[in-house]
Every structure is written in C-alpha cells, then in structure tokens.
C-alpha cells in the first residue's frame, strides 16, 4: 500500500468574478521512503498541492473534490484539531524561507523541545537531549551551546538546517519540502540537499520535494511529477523524464534550461506563457504553446496515460 495517495484532487478559489480552479484532477501516490519531486513554473499548482496535503490551504481556497489518504486513512476532511495533531507528527514541513518558519523570539532549542514534547510526550531532560542530538545530526557545530541560540544568530544555511531538524524531530512518515533551497547560495544549496537526502534515507521518511529547479530534482528525487496549469503533465522515474520526456511541455522545459556542461548557440524556447487560471483554454491547457497539437488537443482534455517509461497527459500517446 502506498504511504500517501492523492486521488483526483480539485482545489478551487471562489472570487467575485467566478470560481478559479487551481488544481484540476491531480492524482499520484508515494511509497514509503520514496522521494517524489514536483516541478513546475509559478502558478502551476505545485505549492498548492503540498498545502492541500498538509491541510494549510489559505482560505478561500478549498478542496472541492478528490481525496487524500495517508497510510490508508483519509486526511483531507479531518477536523482542524485532529489535522493539527497530525501535522508535525505524521507529516513534517520545510518551507523556502527559514526566517518565517522559525519563531524569532524562542531559542532553537525551545522550538525543537516544544515540538517533540507536543508530539512525543517526552520529559524536559529527554527532549533537551534529543534537541542537541538533532542539531548535531543536521551538522550544527557546537550543538550543545548553539541549542540556546536564537534564529538570528544562525546563518541562512544553518537556519535551514534547524528547520530540517524541526521537520524531522517528531519522526514523521512524510516530509513536504517546498522550495527548501531556493533562498540559499548554490554552495550551501548543495549541502542542504545532501543533508536532506541522507537524513530522510536513514529515517525511511518519504519526501515530496517541490521546486522550480529541475537540477535539484534530477539529483534528489526517485520520481518526478511535472505540473502545468493545475494538472500533472507527466509523471515517472526521474532519469526517464529527464532523458526521454514524453510530454511536449516537459521536453520544451528541459530544452530551455541552460547547463554548465555545454554551450548551445540558442536555447530552445517555449513561446508564450502559462495561461492564467481564469483563461485556461478548452482541451489540453498546453495546446496554444504546443508544437505537436492536433485537433483533439483543442477539444478534449487528456488524462495521464502510459507513454514509454513514464505517464503523460498528452493525446500524442493515445492509441486507437
């Protein structure tokens, strides 16, 4: 059984000018210990997917259809108080900016012990011992002393390490990491990715890694879901999606990324931009930008279907 199952998830935002459908039938599953990358451009719905799973959708956004289950138990309709207990204990979260995740008024030690005492019911002494242990584990030098430091006394990379400790300290089965390295310099980003990979492997934690950076996903994830305009365009093992993308959007995206390995005269570009939520075209949302669009793409919306080693929402792969 999959650890997390997301089926046909719809998220909508009612506005004065009508309802905006931000997620439109998103389905995927994650196994225990697996790292699933979720990649897409701004507004594709990748962060919303994470927020919906962890029960932190900003009102008026709400789940209007579909279901989310964790270890077989449905969690998308839990009462607020039960969801609060589940958050942190069974699903941890790491966000982009460590300064907004950490409380500036509490020492990092107090934030760690409070989290562990709430979820694990530890004694003061035991919680403090484990807090120091977690700081050591995430690579904070002189952890026994730094445990009494405040967030502003840590550098950006060190703060993100504290956030990782905080997300993992109650030993959740799943961690949702939303752009965990975007605010960091490239040399520090490498350290944080390596740390996240090592710790989640050691603890058998599953990870949903949400990022716009295909490079980070290529290096970290087992599978990747490419999102476009509120739907999954393609999902499959990372190596296959990167090397033989089946969806025209994925291949356009891969071609538009400059690499340090070689220089091309001109990058491949996808003309135009992702449609706004109030102007999603009928049929496949990618059809206005797609070089391979056929009549069916303008009329009928494709669902995920088998496409070589991956699954893609694209009529090119339909048989018959």
């Amino acid at each position: 059984m999959a650890l997390l199952n997301v089926e046909d998830l719809h998220v909508e935002f009612p506005t004065r000018r009508g309802v905006l459908r931000a997620l439109d039938g998103v389905s995927f599953a994650i196994d225990a210990g697996e790292v699933l990358g979720v990649v897409g451009e701004s507004g594709a719905g990748k962060s919303l997917t994470g927020a919906a799973i962890i029960g932190l959708l900003e009102p008026p956004g709400r789940i209007t259809a579909g279901r989310i289950s964790l270890e077989g138990e449905r969690i998308d309709n839990l009462p607020v108080e039960r969801m609060r207990r589940l958050r942190g204990r069974r699903i941890g979260a790491i966000f982009q900016d460590p300064l907004t995740t950490l409380n500036p008024l509490y020492t990092v030690g107090r934030q760690l012990t409070e989290t562990m005492q709430t979820h694990l019911g530890l004694s003061d002494a035991e919680a403090r011992k484990r807090a120091v242990g977690w700081l050591e584990e995430v690579g904070i030098p002189a952890a026994a002393r730094r445990v009494d430091g405040y967030p502003h006394e840590f550098s950006g990379g060190m703060r993100q390490r504290v956030v990782i400790a905080l997300a993992l300290c109650a030993e959740p089965r799943l961690v949702i990491a939303d752009e965990p390295t975007t605010a960091l310099d490239v040399s520090v980003q490498a350290q944080i990715i390596t740390l996240l990979k090592r710790l989640t492997r050691e603890h058998g934690t599953s990870v949903i890694l949400i990022t716009h950076d295909m490079g980070v996903i290529a290096e970290t994830a087992d599978r990747v879901a490419v999102m476009y305009a509120g739907r999954i365009a393609e999902i499959g093992p990372v190596a296959e999606v990167v090397r033989q993308p089946a969806h025209p959007y994925t291949s356009g995206l891969m071609g538009s990324i400059p690499t340090v390995a070689h220089k091309v005269e001109r990058l491949r570009q996808i003309d135009g931009a992702m449609p706004r939520l109030n102007a999603i075209p009928p049929g496949c949302a990618f059809n206005p930008r797609c070089p391979d669009a056929i009549a069916r793409c303008h009329a009928e919306r494709p669902d995920l279907m088998a496409a070589g080693a991956t699954r893609a929402s694209c009529w090119v792969h339909a048989h018959g």
Partner: protein, 334 residues
C-alpha cells in the same frame, strides 16, 4: 580611429567600494568605538571589449551588484578608476552624448517599472530625457519600433505594467533600456525572477539584440549555467574580489581557482540524475569581518599557512587571471 576599436568600451582599474556601516553617532560615542566600514568591492580590475559580454558570477555578498552600479555611475568608487569609451566615467556621465550610450536592466521587473505609467511613457522616458526626439509622432513610431524589437505589439504601449506577465515586463525593461540607442548595457540578474521557459525567451532575445545592434553587456548573475550561455569572458567573484578572470570557455573547460571548481561542482547536473555530490562545507563569511589572507581559505581544501596570512595577488595562469597561492605554487591536488 582603429585604436578606438581596440580600446575596451569599459575599463575598470583597481575598483574599491566601501560602505559606512557605523552605528549612529551618539551610540558610537557612548560606546567609544570608531566608524565601521564594509568593503563590498576590493581592488577589482576588468575590461569589457566592445560588442562582447563579460559576466560576473558569485554568491550573495560577493560585490557583483555593487560593481554593476559603479559601472553605470549609480555608485562612485571609493578608489580606482572606471573609464567608458576612453573617458573617465565621472566625465562621461556629465556628457549626455556619452551618458545615453549606457543603460541598465534590473532583476525585478515588478519593481523597476512605474505602475502608474503607461508602457509607451515608460519606454519613451529616456528618449524625452535625452531630447533625442521631440515630436509626439516620431516618439510614438520609435516606441512602436522598440516594442516590436523585443517581441511586443505596438498596441501594448497603451497598457499598464500590471497587465503583463513577468517575462513580458522584462521585455518592457529591455525596450526602455534600448530606447536611448545605447551600446553598453549593465544587466543585473535579468532573468533571476523568471521561470525557466521564460528565462530562455529573454536570454535568446538578449543574444539576438546583441548581434543585431552590436551591444556590449556587463552581465551579473549567480547562475553559472546562464552565465555559460551568455558570456565571452567571465569573472568569478568571492567576497569583493575577482578570484578568476578569463575567456568563459577556458574557465568552464578547466577551472583553476578552488572556489570556481567548488561552484561548478555544486551545480546539480541534469545530464547525470542521481549523482552524489561532494559539497564543500561552510558559508560565505560576512564581508563586515572577512578572514585574513585569502578570504576563501576557511573553506578551501588547498589552504596552507601562507593562504591564512598573505593575500594572493592576481596571477596570469596562461590566459586566465587567478588569485590563488595554491594554483601559483602548483599545489592543485589536495
């Protein structure tokens, strides 16, 4: 005028820029402490040849944006000289005929366009400011031409910035930067705020415009892949200094400075999914209190006693300038 062809369009020698980060006078006096300075840029020299792109790459706090601002005269250097087209920049800035030849493209297209102005007025502002054209019809024609050049429609001139996406706004910034017919553009992280597919559009556009109009770019970025795509020459910066400077292809093919090698190694590799990398420890130190000697020594696998005390001078390592004792002494394998 053959000599003028060989002369670099922009030439910076010994650039240094300090910022006063002292506490207010009363607190300073009570605590009996002196003024404090942050040296954002420290003795940096480079030249940009006409029609080429020099990129400066580095992590936050390395001084690359400070150099960008000095290059167009937004900051004055504390020490050192910048010359533009053979004249000192302060002299050049005082002459509209020279000043209109340089312009800047900023990182954030949401902050760099006035939300209350129509696009045509934003694009026409430099034309009016320099008095390049005066007739309303002439200016309208020129604005339409500029918008077409960056892939927008003439009718877009009537709209306001909020009606455009990030990529389109950056096109408007480029049209504005080109409106005084400059030959030198300073581009400070022009695509960092954009999604990758849009970034590709803007980078392709910038290269096309460079070829068509013979533009010279000083390109500032933290993204080595973008830099590789855009640059003829490359300067790698660390804590206010250029540690490696030379032809971009040469540096990417055989990086010499340990910091350059570390940066290249830290980049996730799309062609090699699942690769395990060897991250270098440590953060970039604060420029307020930089380490003595070579500022990279606390993170450098090749550092020895000399690196901890003596600042390395820039040294010509076969066409590439490198500031590193280890490279100069041939201790390049740790």
């Amino acid at each position: 005028m053959d000599d003028a062809q060989d002369l670099p369009l922009l030439d910076a020698v010994g650039l240094t820029r300090d910022f006063d980060v002292s506490r207010p006078w009363l607190q300073r006096t009570l605590a009996r402490e002196g003024r404090a300075f942050l040296r954002a840029v420290d003795d940096v020299s480079f030249a940009v040849a006409s029609g080429t792109t020099l990129s400066l790459v580095g992590e936050s706090g390395c001084g690359k944006s400070t150099i960008a601002r000095m290059a167009v005269g937004l900051y004055a250097p504390t020490q050192g000289v910048i010359s533009f087209a053979g004249q000192s920049l302060s002299v050049a800035r005082a002459q509209p005929a020279l000043r209109r030849r340089m312009n800047m493209i900023f990182q954030d297209p949401y902050a760099s366009l006035n939300p209350r102005w129509r696009v045509r007025d934003i694009v026409a502002e430099p034309i009016r400011a320099f008095g390049i054209m005066t007739g309303a019809a002439d200016i309208n024609d020129r604005v339409a031409e500029l918008l077409a050049q960056v892939g927008l429609a003439a009718a877009d001139g009537e709209k306001y910035p909020h009606e455009f996406s990030g990529g389109q706004r950056q096109r408007i910034s480029i049209a504005r930067a080109l409106s005084s017919a400059p030959d030198f553009l300073v581009c400070d992280e022009p695509t960092s705020a954009l999604d990758v597919s849009v970034q590709a559009q803007i980078l392709n556009l910038m290269k096309e415009l460079q070829q068509r109009l013979g533009l010279t770019y000083l390109f500032i970025s933290h993204n080595l892949a973008v830099v590789r795509h855009m640059s003829d020459r490359l300067g790698v910066m660390y804590l206010g200094r250029i540690v490696e400077l030379g032809p971009a292809e040469e540096i990417f093919a055989a990086p010499r400075h340990p910091y350059t090698r570390m940066l290249l190694d830290a980049i996730p590799d799309l062609d090699n999914p699942g690769r395990a990398r060897t991250p270098v420890g440590g953060d970039v130190p604060s420029p307020i209190d930089p380490p003595p000697g070579c500022t990279f020594h606390p993170r450098c696998p090749l550092a020895n006693a000399r690196c901890r005390t003596e600042r390395p001078a820039v040294w010509d390592a076969g066409g590439v300038d490198v500031a590193c004792h280890a490279v100069q002494e041939g201790r390049t394998t740790a």
